[in-house]
C-alpha cells in the first residue's frame, strides 16, 4: 500500500519517537509512506483559534501537495488529522472559501485526497494481517487505549465512533494485549491548557490516569503527541499536586505494535519516556 505521510511538526521534535515507531511499523507491515514534499504546519491551535481563513488555508496547501502527488494521506498526529479533515470539508463544501484559497495558493483543490488517521491506515491492512506479524504477543500488557478528543470529534469528521472508539482497541487486541474497557477513552487531556490553567489541566490528567489505573491498566496507549506529553511528563506534577503516586507508562500505539512484531525497543524510541516503561516492556518479554 502506498500512501502520503504527513508527520506534522510534533513528530519532528517532541514526538520523534512516534515518528520513528510509525515509520518502522509501517515498513514492517508493507505500508509505503511517502512524505509530502515541502509540507507545512497544519495550523493547529495557533492559527485555527485565531483566524478562520488561515485555519483552512494552511492545511489546504498540504492537501494540494498530496493531490499533486496523487496520493491519499495518513496522519499520525490527532490535531493535524483533525485540521486536515476539517479543511477538506471546508474546501469541498464551501465554494467561497475554496475559491479564495485557490486564489491565494494559485491552484485549486479538487477534493480527491482521502485523509486517514494512522489508526485507520494500519487497520486498513486487515487485523488478520496484523495478527500474523505478531511474534511477541503482548499478553501481559494491561493497556487502556486513550483516543483523546481530536481524533474522534466532531462527529462525522473523526475516524471512529466519538462516544466509544474501538479502532486502537482492535489493533492492540490483534497484538494480543489485554485491552481494558474504561471510561476516559475520549476525554480531554487538557492539551495546551497546561500552560494557562495548570491546575485545571492537571486535574484532567489526574482523572484520566486514575480511571485507567482503577480499571486495572498497567500502561496507556495513545495516538496523539500532546496527549502523550501531557500524560507522561506531568505525572510527577500530578502526584505532587494531588498526593497521588502514579507511575504508568504512556506509549504511542505503534510502539506497542512494534514491540509485538519483535522490533527493538530502542529503535521504537522507547528510551524517551519520563515514566520508565521498562517494567511494562519486560513484562511482555521485550
Amino acid at each position: 500500500m502506498k500512501i502520503g505521510y504527513y508527520p506534522g511538526c510534533s513528530l519532528e521534535s517532541s514526538a520523534k519517537e512516534y515518528d520513528r515507531a510509525t515509520r518502522l511499523v509501517a515498513r514492517h507491515l508493507g505500508i509505503q509512506l511517502y512524505d509530502l514534499n515541502d509540507w507545512n504546519c497544519c495550523g493547529a491551535t495557533a492559527a485555527h483559534s485565531t483566524d478562520h481563513f488561515l485555519a483552512a488555508a494552511l492545511p489546504a496547501r498540504n492537501l494540494m501537495i498530496a493531490e499533486e502527488m496523487g496520493l491519499n494521506v495518513t496522519v499520525p498526529c490527532a490535531a493535524c488529522y483533525q485540521r486536515l479533515r476539517l479543511a477538506h470539508r471546508e474546501l469541498t463544501e464551501n465554494e467561497a472559501t475554496a475559491r479564495e484559497i485557490a486564489e491565494l495558493l494559485g491552484r485549486p483543490y479538487q477534493g480527491k485526497v482521502r485523509i486517514y488517521s494512522l489508526l485507520e491506515t494500519i487497520a486498513g491492512i486487515g487485523l488478520d494481517q496484523l495478527a500474523a506479524q505478531v511474534v511477541r504477543p503482548l499478553k501481559e500488557l494491561k493497556v487502556a487505549c486513550y483516543y483523546g478528543c481530536l481524533l474522534v470529534r466532531p462527529p462525522g469528521t473523526g475516524c471512529d465512533d466519538p462516544e466509544n472508539p474501538r479502532l486502537m482497541d482492535e489493533l492492540l487486541l490483534a497484538a494480543k494485549a489485554e485491552v481494558l474497557d474504561w471510561g476516559y477513552k475520549n476525554e480531554c487531556c487538557g492539551a495546551s491548557l497546561v500552560f494557562s490553567e495548570r491546575r485545571l489541566a492537571l486535574r484532567l490528567i489526574r482523572n484520566i490516569l486514575r480511571n485507567a489505573v482503577d480499571a486495572g491498566a498497567t500502561s496507556i496507549a495513545c495516538a496523539c503527541p500532546l496527549c502523550q506529553t501531557n500524560l507522561d511528563t506531568r505525572q510527577g506534577q500530578v502526584n505532587k499536586e494531588f498526593g497521588t503516586s502514579f507511575a504508568i507508562p504512556i506509549f504511542y500505539f505503534p510502539q506497542l505494535l512494534g514491540l509485538a512484531m519483535g522490533l527493538y525497543p530502542q529503535d521504537l524510541g522507547l528510551g524517551k519516556h519520563f515514566i520508565d516503561p521498562q517494567r511494562a516492556i519486560k513484562a511482555v518479554g521485550g
Binding site: D161, P162, E163, N164, D181, W182, G183, D214
Partner: protein, 663 residues
Amino acid sequence: MPRIGVFVCWCGSNIGGVLDCPAIAQEAASFPGVVYSTEYKYVCSDPGQKLIVDAVKEHRLERVVVASCSPRLHEETFRQVLRRSGLNPYFFEMANLREHCSWVHPDTTVREQAQRKAVDLVRRAVAKAARLEPLFPGKIPVVRRCLVIGGGIAGIQTALDVADAGLEVLLVEREPTIGGNMVKLDKTFPTLDCSACISTPKMVAVAQHPNIRLYTYAQVEEVTGYIGNFKARIRQKARYVDHSKCNGCGTCWTRCPVTVPDDFNLGLGERGAIYIPFPQAVPNKPVIDLEHCRRSTRGKCGACAKLCPTGAIDYEQKDEFVDVEVGAIIVATGYGLFPWEKVYGEYGYGRFRDVITGLMFERMVNASGPTGGKIQRPSSGKEPKTVVFIQCVGSRDEARGKEYCSRFCCMYTAKHAHQILEKIPGSEVYVFYIDVRTFGKGYEEFYRRVRDEGAVYIRGRVSKVYQDGSKLIVRGADTLLGEQVEIAADMVVLATGAVPAAGAADVARMIGIPQDKDGFFQEAHPKLRPVETHTGGVYLAGTCQGPKDIPDTVSQASGAAAKVCGLLLRDELETNPLVSKVNEALCTGCLACQPVCPYRAIQPVTITERLPGQPPRERVVARVNEGLCQGCGACTVACRAGAIDLKGFTNKQLIAEVDALCL
C-alpha cells in the same frame, strides 16, 4: 340548455357595500341559459332560502347559481335548499363574491375592476351550472362488525365500547396476551393507582364479552375492500397448545426445564419455553416458544405433554388462517421504545448493566415483576442509593433521535423519582431535563410534590456516563448554574422516547393508511378529525397515532369507538357522489391511473367488448370503486386517453369555466 336561476347575495354590506349587486344580477340575466336572475340581502337566511324554493317552482328552474360567499361555507346549505325544492342537490353552483372579491378589493379606486371580476365569477358559475349533471350518492350495505388491531389499553377500550353498543368486535393481538404496555406498568401517574389493578379487569371483560371474539398470538395479514365492506385475513400463529382443551392449570409452565430471558420483563427475569407472559394474562393459557423448547432444540423432552392433565399439548400444531368480513377497522398498534442502544454512545450503548430504561424500571418496581418489587441494581442486586434519571432520550433530539416530544416521559420520571424516594430511605434522586412538561390534570401538582420530596431537578443534558469501579459517573451540564456536574450514581434510568410499534409500516401498507414523517399513523385532520384516517372506515386509537398518556389514549379509543358505532349502526352507507368514473370505451387498460390513486380505488377488470362486425373480445379496463374513491381527480390527469372523468369537476365543466372566465 337547462333553465338556470341566479341569486346574487348582498351579504348585508359585506358584498353589497362594495359591489353593485343589482347590476350583477342584471348582467347575469343575459348569460346563456339564465331564465331568472335576482338579488337579495341575505340569500342564506330563511327568507332568502324561501326565495330560491319559490323561484324554482315559479320559473321552473333546473339549475341554481348563488353568488355570495365561499362554497366552503354554504355549499351544503344551498344543496339542502335544492333538495327541498325538488331538484337534485348537485344542480347547484356558487360564485364566491365575498371572500374572493368584495373583501379583498374594497377600495373605490378599483371598484370598476372588482365589479367586472364579480361578473366574470358569476359567468363562470353559470357556465358550470349549465353543464352540471344530476348526481346520486351510492348506497352500500354495511357489515356490522369491527376489527380492532392491537390489544393494548387502546384496543381493549375501543373493543369494549363498540361491543357494548351491540356490535360484533374481532380483537387481534400479536402477543400471547392482551394488555399491551400498560399492563407492564407499576403505578400510574399522578394518582399512583396500580396499573394492573385498573387494566386487568378490563382484560377479563374483553375475554368474557359475548360480542368480542379475541385472537391472541395472531396477526392481520391482509386487508382488502372498503368502508363498510372490508375483508381481512387473520393468521392464528401456532401455540402448540390446544386452548380448547387447556384449562390453564399451570402445571406445564411451572415444570418446564428451559429458562429463557423474559421479554415481558424486558430481560430482567426468566420464563420457560412454555409460558404465560404474566400471571394475569388473558387468555390465561400458555404458548410454546418452539425456538427454545428443548423438544425441538434437542429432539427430546416432552415434559409438558407428559404432565398435561388434559392432553392439550400439540407439537404438530400449524398456523391457521381465518378470513373475516368487517365494516370498520380500528388500528391500535401502540408504541415501542426508541432504540437508544444504537445511538447514544454517551450513555454507554447499553454496555452498562445499571443503565436501564423507564419501562425496565416499571417491571423492577412492580410487585409482580422479576424482583418482586425490589428496586435493585441489575449488576449486583444491591439497592441503589443514588439514582440519576435522564429525560428526553431519543425525544427532542433532532440530531440523533426524534424531533418530537414523547409527552409522557416527564411524568413517569417524576413518578419513578417518587417511588425511589419513598421506597429507599436516604436515597438521592437527580433528574436531568430539558423542560418539564406537565400538561394534564393534576400533573403539575404531582411534579411539585416530587420536587418537594427531594428529587433534584437539573436543567441540562448528560454528556457522558461511564463506569468507575462499581459506580456510574454521570457527567452533565447544569445550564441554570452554568456549571458542569458529576454525579456518582448507582443506577441510571433513561426516559426513552416512544416510537411507533415494530411493524407499524407493514400495517400502514397493508391497510393503505399513510404514516407521518416519524412513522406514526396520520390522522385525517390534526385538530378536527383526530381519530379518522384518510381511508374511509379506518380509525386510529392510542399511541399508534402519536405519543400520548393513558387518559388521552382511552379518550381517543372511545372516540374511535363512537365513530365506528356511528358508521356501523346505519343500514346502508351513502357514498360521496363526486367520484371518478371510467369511460370503458375509451380506456385502453394501460392502468397508468392505478398507482396514482392513494386509496387503491382503481382496479383492473376484464370486460367483453362487442364491436360491430367483430367477434367479442376480452379486454382489460380500469374500474373505480366508488366506495373507496375520495374524488381527488389525480387519475383523470394520469389518464392520457381522457377516459377518466371526475363527477362534479368534469373536463367539460372545467373547460367551460376557463372559457367563461376568459370572455
